[in-house]
Structures are given as C-alpha cells and as structure tokens.
Amino acid sequence: MRRLLALLILLGLLLPGAAGAVNPDEMLENPALEERARDISKGIRCVVCQNQDIDSSNAELARDLRVLIRERLEEGDSNREVEAYLVARYGDYVLLKPPFKASTLLLWLGPFLLLLLGGAASAAYLRRRATGQAQAAPPEPLSADEREKVQRILNEGREG
C-alpha cells in the first residue's frame, strides 16, 4: 500500500507542471522563435483577465495576441518591436513590467528614496545619541553643606 502511494506520488512529480494555455496549434515550428514568443508572452498582460500574462491565459483575446506575436516574429520583428506594436495599441498597461520613464520614476525609485530617508533618519538619531552622551553636562560640584555631610558620613564609617 505504502509502496503504491510512493509510486503514485513519484509519477505525479513526473507530470509537467501546470500546463500553460498555449495550444499546440499555436506553436511555431522553429523552436528558437517559439521560445522568444513564450518569452514575450510572459511579459504581456491579458487585458481581459488583467493580472494574468497572456502566456497562461485561456481568454480568447489572449490567444489572438499570442498568435499575433508569433506572426510578427515570423515576419522578422525583434522582441522589442513586437512589444512596441502591442504598446501602441494597449499602452504601457499591457506590459506586466512597467517601463522606466518619467511617469514611472516614483514607482521605480520610490523604494530607494524611502531607504535613503530611513537611513538618514537613523543616522541622525544615532549621531545625536552618541554626541548626547559625550557632551552630557559634568556633575555640579558639591556645595559646602554637602561636602560637610559627606565628610561626616565617611568619618562615621571610620569610627564604627
């Protein structure tokens, strides 16, 4: 029984991971081109299902776009040209990875900006703490009264 179970699990592991939405009839015969098509598709947002790439989407429009990408690759477009073609129609929104440009500056540099701000705040805090300790005011000298009191206590100890 246990052996059977182990065998089943092993067989299960041999199956390919989550089969994509790409149908065999869409695929190109040239494996290098197909590889590039898959690569591009993984970075293109399915505008129907929105947070999925078209490589894994079953939406019909995603399929149309996959076929379109392959057609353009066969016509000799570079990856960048294919992406530009899609961006011209659907905007930067169609790219799952937003491009680095003026309107996305905050998006890309925001984390570093926060890190910088946090670092500066921590540095300021640490520096203030360190100098604060060094410059702590020296204790006030004892008054005549207090000195006398101390002397008395010390003398008591000696006599006792």
Partner: protein, 181 residues
C-alpha cells in the same frame, strides 16, 4: 517644538492612511478600467468586408476619411451587453443624427444578420472583423466598445463596455459637442 511635532506625527500618518483608504473605497475610480492608449491617435488603417449576405460596402479607414465627426461601435451578436446598448446606439444615430459605423466582432454572418434583423440596423455601414484582428488595432479588450472620431480622423474618446442609462446625455453627447466645436 520639534518634540511635540514628533508626538503628533503618528496620528497624522494614521489619518493619511485612513483618507487614502476612504478614497479607495468611495471614489468613482474603476480599478479594472483599461487605460486607453489610442486617444488623440489617428484611426488605425483597416479594410473590412461587409457581413456575408448583407449588401453594403463594408468598412475601411479610407472610406471613413470624410471629415465628419463619427462614432464607431464594435459589437457582436453573442455579446449580451451589446444587446443592452443597442437601443442607445440606435437613438444616437436616429434621434441625434450622429454618423454611427459598426464593426462586427468575431461573429457568424448568419447570427449577425439575424441580430440586425431583430433589433434593427442603425449603422451607416458595417465591417465584419471575423478574426478580431482589426479590433486589436483598436486596442479592444472586449466588446462592446465605442470610439468617437473627430473630423481629422483622430480618436478622441474610447468607451469600454456598453453605453447604457444616462451615458448618452452625460457622456457621449457632451464629448461630441466638444469635438464639433
């Protein structure tokens, strides 16, 4: 003074977060709306045949370059919201005299003919986009979608989804007015 400010800071940040959340919940913003890339771009070039079995010239960008303000509506007989907006599209053409053209998206000719016979045909002419390829050039994410085109053949507005209820008076007619000016 600075110390006092530091004590107030957490409350200020907290209020900021609350304001942001309220904006997210209450604003009219539709987070699933696909921003249009084609606004202020010229009409894509295309040449579509008519729906099989219907007489007519089909639809091409060349034929649309007539200097007239117009609406292009992408529809399909299998699309339920298209049925819902058909009344409004018809009113746009017949009551307001707007030039409305249709692109029939991925439809079977027989189904499209039946749909038009049943609901009426408000379109000046219709192009059949059976592969959905021209629709991609229009940046379509689903049907129905409508485009307002100015006299220079530039796309001025893209409506994603059906035009229903007050959309005509509140949205389309004012924009057309503005384009005409």
């Amino acid at each position: 003074m600075l110390r006092k400010l530091l004590f107030v800071l957490p409350s200020v940040i907290f209020l900021g977060v609350i304001a942001f959340s309220l904006w997210g919940l209450l604003s009219e913003r539709d987070p699933s709306a696909v921003p249009s890339a084609l606004i202020d771009k010229p009409l894509p070039e295309f040449d579509l045949p008519p729906i099989e079995g219907l007489t007519g010239p089909g639809l091409s960008s060349a034929a649309l370059a007539d200097g007239e303000v117009k609406v292009i509506n992408i529809f399909a007989s299998w699309c339920i919201p298209c049925r819902a907006e058909h009344e409004l599209i018809t009113a746009l053409a017949e009551e307001h005299g707007v030039a409305v053209y249709g692109i029939n998206y991925k439809d079977k000719p027989a189904d499209a003919r039946l749909w038009l016979a049943e609901l009426g045909n408000p379109y000046r002419s219709i192009g059949a986009d059976r592969q959905g390829r021209v629709a991609i050039d229009f940046g379509v994410s689903g049907v129905p979608e409508s485009y307002l085109i100015d006299g220079q053949g530039v796309i001025r507005f893209q409506q994603i989804g059906p035009l229903v209820g007050p959309d005509l008076e509140d949205k389309i007619l004012p924009i057309l007015e503005e384009i005409r000016r």
